[in-house]
Symmetry: C2
Subunit: 281 residues, 2 copies
């Protein structure tokens, strides 16, 4: 199968590596605004050839859109304009309502499968791509009834080749759940980094003392605004809803401390401990 990857960064690059290893991809075109990323992707054997949007799409069975969600929303209608009934388009974005709504009346809507691989790191660019990134992770397909059966089957096969387990939900539910499970973690982590940077003027001390616990909690704060501002913009209502809850949860800790109600503090912590039972299933 010939595949065009639009956006040869962390996600697109990791998919390319794995699909090549699995023998699914015979030839991979790379399409990217960044010449630097294209050159790196060629050097790393992530892509076979760089291409422009039209020629890459024309020659491909599958087109994978792996760019920030604002760019994806703008680009997808143009991509669908160019495809025939024998081609399939999938995305990899962290928000789903925006992109699904952007093409809901497009004549080629059925050629598109809305996909979200639940994996990412704070790094970006083809150099951070890793073949095994997606193994064991969830791959979410949204609004499957809006895709043609053969397009859906192809994307399911791609997800399985990435060693992901598939989950189906509608785009609205997806955006609610990811606000809880992914987007709020990033805001927390950014705010924590800003807190420490604000309060702790002695950078050397941060560096010297930073324990593995701190590094773990603040890891996501390294994630770039180019990717995350568009996600927060598209999922604004859900993120605000969870953020309000998060602030009110932090206020409970504040109140327990201020009132020296350490029994209540212990209850708050014991409740949080329940996450262990859920995550370590």
């Amino acid at each position: 199968m010939k595949i065009s990857i639009i956006g040869v960064g962390l996600i697109g690059g990791s998919m390319a590596l794995k699909l090549r290893t699995k023998g699914i991809a015979d030839f991979i075109y790379g399409i990217d605004q960044s010449e630097k990323h294209l050159t790196e992707a060629l050097d790393l054997n992530i892509i076979d050839e760089k291409a422009d949007l039209e020629s890459g799409i024309k020659s491909s069975d599958l087109i994978i859109l792996a760019v920030p969600v604002d760019a994806a929303k703008k680009l997808l209608p143009k991509v669908l304009d160019l495809v025939s009934e024998h081609q399939t388009v999938m995305d990899a974005g962290s928000t789903k309502s925006g992109i699904v709504n952007a093409v809901k009346d497009h004549p080629n809507r059925a050629r598109f499968v809305a996909f979200h691989p639940m994996w990412g790191t704070e790094d970006n660019g083809p150099k951070s791509a890793v073949s095994e990134s997606f193994s064991g992770k969830a791959g979410v397909i949204c609004n499957r009834e809006e895709s043609a059966p053969d397009a859906l089957r192809l994307v399911e096969r791609i997800a399985e080749s990435l060693d992901m387990h598939l989950i189906y939900m509608n785009a609205e539910s997806h955006d609610v759940h990811t606000a809880y499970i992914s987007h709020i973690s990033h805001i927390t982590s950014y705010a924590l980094a800003n807190t420490v940077l604000e309060k702790e003027r002695e950078e050397e001390t941060i560096f010297q003392l930073a324990s593995s616990g701190f590094s773990s909690t603040v890891r996501l704060a390294k994630s770039h605004p180019e990717m995350w501002v568009p996600i927060f913009r598209q999922n604004k209502e859900n993120v605000l809803d969870v953020l309000n809850e998060h602030i009110s949860q932090l206020r409970k800790f504040k109140s327990a401390l201020e009132k020296e109600n350490f029994e209540y503090l212990g209850e708050l912590i014991a409740n949080a401990n329940k996450i262990r039972g859920i995550l370590d299933k």
Copy 2:
């Protein structure tokens, strides 16, 4: 050297394993309220013999106090009552002002060295002890001028045997810095877990969708109240100070989203990204 370890859990157990490997510890007495932990520690070859407080201390050159900080504060004066000028006592607690103040007028104060290894996990008990836990991490010695030179030298040798790099500061500074770098991370993580548990009633969905990012940010929320309530209690003022700053940082994200000021949102994120430069030095 003969060593008594009071509290054969994650920290005490990990120290024991490493000090035995390094040949520093010839014989290790385990002292613990939990018979279960003592039996496990014997089975795991963490300790050579279980002992009661008096007999263990009497037979040891070094006594390591590795219990929750409230218990440590109560226990240390009793331990110092029992030691002679040829014995050294060190602790491993995450707060330092409380314990240092508890013994500041004790006649044997000079035999005590206040120590904090900047490492921990969300697990507890001897079964989670790992020999290499402390390698490359910071070990903080507080108020070194209050310890006898030979006691200080011994604890420095212990920290070096654990492959830690040493930092010296006074107890008050330590408690300020750890509020920033360690304690607030735990509150953030607990509050995030409670947020998700409150909002996301579908536990199965949390489990299925939870990405590595979420798991990383929420990892510390698995840490037990028995250890953390006493830390927050002893470091209340500093933790409240940082918690207030953290809530106000989260409010900036909230305000940027509510006002759809995505340029400001991008600035907040770009500022948080600076943590990369500090942590990845």
